[in-house]
Every structure is written in C-alpha cells, then in structure tokens.
Symmetry: C2
Subunit: 173 residues, 2 copies
C-alpha cells in the first residue's frame, strides 16, 4: 500500500528535485507547469503526489524548516542567552539566504504545522534573550521575527548582511 512502483518513485524524486530548483530560482511564483517540464513529467503526475501547489512547496522546504528548528533548540540549550540569540539569528539568516527563493517559500508557508513549531521555538529564544537583558524589552518576540524577516526579504542580493547588522544593532538593549 505504501510501496510505490519503481517508475513512480523515480518520478517523485525528479519532481522534488525540479521543484527545489524552481522554487529556489523563482520563489513561490514558480509554476507547476515549469516544475513538471523541468522534471520531464506531465503536470498531472505532480498533482497526483501533491494535491495542491502548497503541499509540494511545503515538502520542498520541510528539510529547511527542520534544520532551523534544530538551530533554535541549540540556542535554547546554550549558556549565554544573549549571545545565543545573536548567533541563532545569524545562522538562520545564512541558511535561508543561501537560497533566497526558498526563504520566500518558507515565509509563504508560515502557517503550516512545521513552520508554526519553528515560530514557537524562535519566540522562546527571543524571550530568553530579553529576560537576560540582551535585547530591548519594548518589542515582542513576534516583532523580532518580522523585523529580521523584513531585513532579509526583498533585499538586493549579497547585501543582506549589512541590513541585518543594522537591525540587530537596533534590537540591543
């Protein structure tokens, strides 16, 4: 029942590879038709495995999201909450901005279960740093998330580090 036929498994891999490439290049605007063409399959084949485009997108970024959750858990376990927060943000940014298109997909899928988990973890990292006095108290954890995101999104390629530095300086207590 859960076993896929050999050709189905092969096509599934091709689709995921193609989708990763297309979403990395064009963000959530990549079309299913493009992805199917890139994978060398009909687009009906894509829809059989992933009932909606969002399902496919989430399958592509799931690995990314998991990785980010791990970073968040490490930050929560670290000794110095302030340092952990700043390190966490930089690592998160490096991971996301290595493929800006996928980052935009992560933003697009913000309400999916896995992504919601990540948000909860990230908010705890922020709160901990605030309690330790490393981050100003007049912003909410959610605000920090949005500020960092806005510094990374719609930013000229290769310039985001400078932008993030400014925002993080603005966030220090």
């Amino acid at each position: 029942m859960t076993e896929l036929r050999a050709d189905a498994r092969r096509n599934l891999e091709r689709v995921l590879d193609a989708a990763t490439e297309a979403f990395a290049a064009s963000g959530p605007d990549a079309s299913i038709d493009d992805i199917a063409r890139l994978a060398g399959v009909g687009h009906g084949t894509v829809f059989r495995r992933f009932p909606t485009k969002d399902d496919l997108m989430f399958a592509v970024i799931e690995r990314h999201v998991d990785e980010m959750c791990t970073l968040a858990r490490e930050a929560l376990a670290a000794a110095d909450p302030g340092q952990a927060f700043f390190d966490f943000v930089w690592r998160l940014a490096e991971l996301n901005m290595s493929t800006p298109g996928l980052h935009r997909c992560v933003v697009h899928c913000g309400d999916k279960p896995g992504a919601a988990e990540l948000e909860k973890l990230a908010d705890r990292v922020v709160s901990r740093a605030q309690r330790a006095g490393a981050v100003r108290r007049d912003v909410k954890a959610e605000d920090v998330r949005l500020l960092v995101r806005s510094a990374l999104t719609n930013t000229p390629p290769g310039q985001w580090r400078r932008y993030l530095a400014v925002v993080l300086d603005g966030l220090r207590a």
Copy 2:
C-alpha cells in the same frame, strides 16, 4: 484639442477617485475591472485615458510623491542635518502609512521619473546626515532607503512605528 468634453472630464474624475480608493484598499493588486465598476464606467473608458494600469497607478500617487519631494527639500534646507534626517523619515512614514495600499503602489512605481527624483533627494538627505556624523557610515544612502521601506512594508497594521524606531536606532552612528 486638449479640451475634454464635459462627460469625459466627469468620468476622468470618477476614475481617479475610484482608483485612489481601490489602490488604497488593495495596493497594486487592485484590478482595472474593480476600479471601473467602482467608478461606474466601462473599463474601456479607463484604458482610453490611461493606456496601461501603471499609468493610472502613477497618476494616483503623483500627488503623494510631490508631497514627499517637498518634505525632502525642507529637510535639505534645515539647520541640523541629523535631526532633519530623522524628522524627515518619520514624516515620510506617517504620510505613507496613513494609506498603506498607496505606499505599496509607490514602491511598485519606484522607477518612474517622478519617483526617481524623490529617491535622489532622499539620498542627499541621508548623505548629509552621514557627513554630519548622525548616521553610521557603513551603509549607503540606498541601503537606508531600503531598510526604512522594509520596516514599513508587510508589517502588521498599526505596529510600524515600533519597527521603524528599531531600525532608526540601528542606523545611529
């Protein structure tokens, strides 16, 4: 030749009013059909006056852009370059965020002649503040523009003041 017939003039006004309302509500995503319906005219009438949607959008924001240019010129004339910069940014933000939809239209039309003029003026305000030592030197004038924009765009309604405060704090020398 340049005189419009009475009905044409009346419809032109209606279209501009409707477009302002629609763009303010939905940003650049407002459709010409919606605008025409709101104005009570056929959409052919809209296209006769404004060959493309962008032309219409720019006509709507032109007044805004002019007002912003005035603010920039005032800032350039002010005595204290640093204070002038921060006042300028806050006034610009208040003006834009009173109608977030129109702000998104301004961003969308960033390359139109009038908007380009505004960018040049704004960049001079920034450079002047940097030379006066009020703004950190490791960012370019364009970076400041983009950072401020990113703090205002895609931001929960009513929260943008906090976000802007953080970014401006991060920009101080």
